[in-house]
Amino acid sequence: MSKKKNPVGKQADKIDRGVAAPVVATGADMACREGLRRVVITGAGTINALGHDVASTLEAFREGRCGITQLDFRDVERLSIQIGGQIHNWTPETYFNRQQILLYDKFTQFTLLAAKQAVAQAGLNFEGALGLRSGVILGTAGGGLNTWDENYRAVYEEGKNRVHPFVVPKLMNNAAASHVSMEFGLRGPAFTVATACASSNHAMGLAFQMVRSGAADVMLSGGSEAMLCFGGVKAWEGLRVMSKDACRPFSANRNGMVQGEGAGVFVFEEYSRAKARGADILAEVVGFAMSSDAQDIVMPSAQGAERAITGAMTDAALNREQIGYINAHGTGTAANDKTECAAVAHAFGHHADKLMMSSTKSMHGHLIGGTGAVELLACIMALRDGVIAPTIGYQEHDPECALDVVPNEAREVEVEAVLSNAFAFGGLNAVIALRRI
């Protein structure tokens, strides 16, 4: 781990740092904010290619370890893309009984494992009144994609005329959210958000708003994805934006994204409640903003991203100088990374050169609808432990991405507030702001 400032140093730079408009809350914003409650995170859980829990994932972030490996599933030899952030040694029978496995697609299994870890850490029991004031909002893009894949194969390729009776409840996008509600007795708002690569951030943003507004006292939120199956990867191959060798965000020689899988789930709790019961508070959620490019179904817009970034800071009443770290969307595609750097440079003006921005997708791959949830762990680590997760695989300076992307080695720096970016296909942007507590 390195303690020095950007080891890449000052190099050629082609990013326009506009004279960003000051981020200040307006009178109307301030009036609206009165009466709003504070929201804190009191539990976190995950499973992803880097580890089967939060501790092992954070350790991998600190070490800059890569979880991207050779893919291993049926018909993989028919794919031109052979790598991914796959969870190996996954044994659902360790966690679930036979009946549950019949009913849970892999994306639900991942979600339940992460949710159980988060609730255990928070130390909450939802029996009685609390269950009525609690809910769950999760993100996923593909839902039960493995179930679709297996059953299409059965009826089309193998010519079977009968499928298991639970195919529909297993594959539906809300299955994970529903099973989480049942597992813990969450009887308030419960639903699933599907906004492609921004699903988790949209889900967590809405959960934050619900606790802040008083619609709920505790919300479980995050997201999951299990798209690493033949059909899931084959579909992505078609776009020709996937890398065959590595995810190298912001590096001039980047050549595309690498898919991952897994889940991240958090407990969002009203602050005074968490404080009164002596909960260990991981971070405060202070702002959220979303925007739509309204422009192109796949090509991102810097303006749309910038509006979500400045919107989140305004919502959080944070000045841009207070932001020390951004967990980037950083997919490793040519288009995303330069557009995202342009948006950040324009939103932050000269402060863009002082903040750090890394993409942990270089380690766990792109979890599509679950990605923002796993990436929020890097934000919590930055605030709580003062450790900034690196962008690994970084090899060549790109003048169009000339920001401090924390190349290859984690760094020890105290930060006060952070942002987590997510910019989805379809031009849907969602940015969350967290603060140290």
């Binding site: 776009l239 020709r240 934006v241 980047r254 796949v298 090509m299 595609t333």
Partner: protein, 88 residues
């Protein structure tokens, strides 16, 4: 055969660019024909389907691709090679 491949590729590109096939000249670049990156990915898919070949092309680094997309002439030559390899 060579002539035929040329004609069929011109027709595919013309359809994508909403032009007449004779407007798709050898020295024209995809950009000059009004084909953006997504249009190019679609055109390559259509060529693969037409000739049953696999074209090595990554939209993140088109210039580094083994498949030279500098202009229509290089695209046609590259497809002719792939078809010859397949038939050979």
């Amino acid at each position: 055969m060579t002539e035929d491949i040329q004609t069929r590729i011109r027709a595919i590109i013309a359809e994508q660019a909403m032009l007449e096939p004779e407007q798709v000249t050898d020295d024209a670049t995809p950009e000059e024909l009004g084909i953006d990156s997504l249009g190019l990915v679609e055109s390559i898919f259509a060529i693969e389907e037409e000739f049953d070949v696999t074209i090595p092309f990554n939209a993140n680094e088109p210039e580094k691709s083994e498949f030279d997309i500098s202009n229509m002439g290089t695209i046609i030559a590259a497809v002719q090679r792939l078809v010859a390899e397949k038939d050979g």
